[in-house]
Symmetry: C2
Subunit: 226 residues, 2 copies
């Protein structure tokens, strides 16, 4: 196999990242802290989804959030009213979170709360359907949000992201009556990319599907803590 | 200024890219071929916009398209029915087009048509609101599409892309009645990031705003050919 210099540099960066991701995962496991990496395009509704899901999750679980953003802490500010520990991670020009940034975020989190008290760490990645898929952060599960306004073809066009997903949340399902959108085609495109992923349709406005999503996460936590 | 190794590598890559972009621009100028770099998130409606705009543009102009996609040529296939020269550029794992890929695309285009016959080269970039902003391709204008389903905050969260835009097209404006969306707030966020950019609201379904967009491009072509 012939590799160009830029391929070699990229593989080296990914190799170093994987090593740090493994260290993160060991730390999460020691803490019995389940870590979810939440990814999507810009504007698919990650922060709104987190706002709505946290309102429910914090009744039964102790949750913290690492909030990835390129330059602002706007998303972190939106979540602050929930009074849970939130660490904004501004990535600068980087278009994704990497394992080092998450390790640094965890260290800051530990100055705010004893991490042994936590059950769930939600990591909101930078809005990007490409690069975050290639950078493990030590997460236990990858969750990809895809809004129905983005079109049925996206799993075919961004296959790396969908191939890695443990769960695909189809968002903004409340807009279905106003779009010329074939949800069966979308599902078939998701499954043709990754036949093992689970799919749940949700709306963070009407909270459609939140019962299914919350059952999904409860099951994962139960299995993780067992 | 202290630079890390990865910063140095990145600057070096961007420097090489800028050099090739300059060569591309010289070639476009020699050909009197205006080149537009069309960028957005995945699913903001770039291909639909191109379909609708090309139906009108090809009446008065000779147009070709370079169609950037990571792994598929789905978008290129959607445009093929218009019977204009289209070159798909699959970027593999790369999350953006760069100047070298565009130079290669132009060489393939030249096997399909004498480029001196062309007036406009439309380049549809990979769906990504981050990385394409940093890679010049030799374009004369950068056009950024942003769908109203993506939220008012995106120009603040992805400022590099909006800082570079000559024109921001606010898309899917037909969905406005069904969203809780403040278009004035979006416009103010765009202009606070880049006070010089122009903004046009469009819908590729109802063709709202296409008269304004087509006037914009006519003016640019007129000035370019003068």
């Amino acid at each position: 196999m012939h590799l160009s210099l830029s391929d070699k540099i990229e593989l080296n960066i990914l190799h170093h990242n994987s090593h740090q991701a493994e260290l993160n995962k060991i730390r999460f496991n020691d803490l019995k802290l389940i870590c979810l990496n939440i990814m999507s395009s810009p504007g698919a509704g990650k922060t709104k989804f987190l706002e709505k899901t946290l309102e429910d999750l914090i009744i039964n679980f102790r949750v913290a959030v690492l909030e990835g953003d390129m330059t602002t802490n706007l998303d972190a500010m939106r979540l602050e009213k929930l009074r849970i520990p939130i660490v904004p991670i501004t990535t600068g020009r980087a278009c994704h979170l990497d394992a080092n940034m998450v390790s640094g975020g965890l260290k800051i989190l530990e100055t705010k709360i004893n991490p042994e008290l936590l059950d769930i760490l939600l990591v909101e990645n930078v809005g990007n359907l490409v690069c975050p898929a290639e950078f493990e952060i030590g997460e236990h599960f990858k969750i990809v949000l895809l809004s129905i306004t983005e079109g049925e073809d996206k799993p075919l066009k961004y296959p790396i992201m969908f191939r890695e997903a443990d769960l695909v949340l189809i968002t903004k399902i409340d807009l279905l009556p106003y779009l010329n959108f074939d949800i069966q085609e979308l599902k078939s495109n998701i499954l043709s990319t990754n036949s093992k992923t689970e799919i749940i349709e949700i709306s963070s406005i009407s909270k459609t599907g939140f019962d299914l999503w919350e059952n999904w996460i409860m099951d994962k936590i139960k299995a993780f803590k067992a």
